[in-house]
Symmetry: C2
DNA sequence: GTGGATGGTGAAAGCGGTTTCACCATATCG
DNA sequence: CGATATGGTGAAACCGCTTTCACCATCCAC
């Protein structure tokens, strides 16, 4: 038994100080309605005076609630280069902390239905889990069945069963594409992200719809697939420039690929935005520091995290949580 | 009492299945030496067969150990734009998980000695804490006194008392500066980071020493102070160009400022690297995607996290943990 | 062969909360 | 006015694991 660094007061102490039973202390501290105001006050005073703080482990053991929410991140490439998840996580963490919940971070490969993460989540070690960018939803589906409260950040493939929050990928892409047309472009290409992901798919859909609405017809030649990396953006742009001579606008599904595209355009001896206009997505730091600075679709990433946390809290309260789509905003800079 | 989603086996079940007492089950599961091999096997078999997993809360309550390590991040600007901490954290998290410890994420303002974070840490809710970039060490000092195992990521100001891991800021800056001289520069400036931080100070020291070793004398005019932001880098560079006509090299203490510097240089009508060579620090994604691509000092950020986690684990085991400095590597690209 | 280490074990007492249950007051009803 | 709900309360069981303690074997030395 590890020596306790300091002797914390327990219910025994509080109840004595307040002149009530431990049961009543518990009632007060858990917001039970049926306690006489006088005793509520007595307990609260004692708690304040003695600087009492509940012992999490003891509370968990007795109640079955841990006060822990897992934030589960697939152990993927993107994490190491993209500040996105860090920002979302900080939003989540803040809201959870305000609600007296703690954030348990799990970075791991989620393919296995049997890894340590899966065990933790199934083993009742947490009260809920917030997932990021789902590639495979086998694990999540199972957890839903076990009635673990969950929130997905990013739209899942089979959306009906899950509670999720997401940026309005469709709307953002739509606006980006429209912007290029309104700037006078007539041949607008798209460099997609991974279209296996819903975000990638939705951005492509937004592009397509904007294209059709503009009266133009989106040609297959104008669609190049990327994977969110700089190199893929550059390569895709090279292909596009080769195939479509009159190309004068491109919407890249993230900022990194947009920079790749700009690199390719300049290597081809053309100038951004004079010859080809470029719009990115994310409005990351890159968009502000690149030259030319990048017009980009901004998403409120912190808000995304906060929304995820709030949906989780709603579920824990037993309220029913509706999926939530956050709107985007186009930030116009030099590139388009 | 929340209904348990599934009935987990308990010691009662295991001990019956293995034909031993619960005490012995506990001994086996906690690696007690003095148990007969036959019983160890019996228990292990029962555990495997029944898919037993320890109940964390119960274990914590009884043992006083929570199995939780806090990763504490000051609620600062940098977090939202810099992927640095995310990467470190993922390294930490991985190592902790491999050692059956969990990562509790706390993003909060650490100025107050009395906030929720301080309470959690002091209240025995975690077995240890890993801090990032310390600005104020009042809280940390207090926790050290309370004998909470701690690791600081980044060199603390008063280093003697703490266990910490850090990148070799001095060495990296030294190498960067040397590189500029070896490329033929003679007037090499530095754009420092926040020199209130030890990292900022060490990088400046490395620059100074490299300068002296080269036989040149570092002039005060060659030192411009920045704050790690793009704008500060740009402004600093503008000042430097105004003051030192013959300037032909600059070492910026991070990549973002290096990009700011490049922007200022080009605005002044000069060319990188022909007229002025630039070296950054971090080797972030920015360094690879900027144009010209950026020569930068690379630090192994994941390793930094892993080292921090390993130092924590060593402390938990009662071994004494020595501070640890990770070496850097200069990645040469177009800018210098 | 006896006394004292030593290894191996189980019963039982916690750890610090939560929750059930029985109980005593009042308040409400017919 | 007796019978029945209702609010408020404390005693005690319990959550699942850890650890102390007492105890019984052995094993060793003398």
């Amino acid at each position: 038994m590890a020596a306790k660094s300091s002797i914390r007061p327990t219910y025994a102490v509080i109840s004595k100080a307040a002149g009530v039973s431990e049961a009543t202390v518990s009632r007060v501290l858990n917001g039970d309605e049926n306690v006489h105001p006088d005793r509520i006050k007595a307990v609260q005073d004692a708690v304040a005076k003695l600087g009492y703080k509940k012992h999490r482990a003891a509370s968990s053991l007795a109640s079955g609630r841990t006060g822990l929410i897992a934030v589960v991140i697939d152990d993927d490439l993107s994490i190491f280069s993209d500040p996105f998840w860090a920002t979302v996580t900080s939003g989540i963490s803040r809201v959870l902390m305000e609600n007296d919940l703690q954030t348990l971070l799990m970075v791991a490969n989620l393919d296995s239905l049997d890894g340590p993460v899966a065990h933790s989540l199934q083993g009742g070690e947490v009260d809920g889990a917030i997932f990021f960018q789902l590639h495979k939803d086998a694990l999540v589906k199972r957890l839903v069945k076990q009635r673990l409260p969950m929130v997905i950040t990013g739209t899942p493939h089979t959306s009906n069963d899950f509670v999720f929050v997401d940026t309005d990928n469709f709307g953002g892409a739509h606006e980006a594409t429209n912007h290029l047309f309104s700037r006078g472009c007539s041949q607008v290409a798209i460099i997609t992200g991974d279209i296996e992901t819903t975000a990638g798919r939705q951005r492509l859909d937004g592009y397509n719809q904007a294209y059709r609405k503009s009266g133009h017809v989106p040609s297959k030649h104008l669609i190049a697939e990327g994977d969110y990396s700089f190199e893929s953006g550059k390569a895709a742009m090279k292909r596009l420039l080769d195939q479509v001579e009159s190309l004068d606008g491109v919407f890249a599904c993230n900022d990194v690929m947009a920079l790749g595209a700009i690199a390719a355009i300049e290597e081809a001896g053309k100038v951004v935005p004079d010859h080809v206009k470029v719009v990115g997505f994310d409005d990351s730091l890159l968009a502000q520091t690149s030259r030319p600075t990048l017009t980009s679709v901004r998403q409120d990433i912190v808000a995304l995290g906060e929304a995820a946390a709030n949906l989780m809290i709603a579920q824990l309260r037993g309220e029913d949580a509706q999926p939530c789509i956050l709107s985007t905003e186009l930030v116009v800079r030099e590139s388009a």
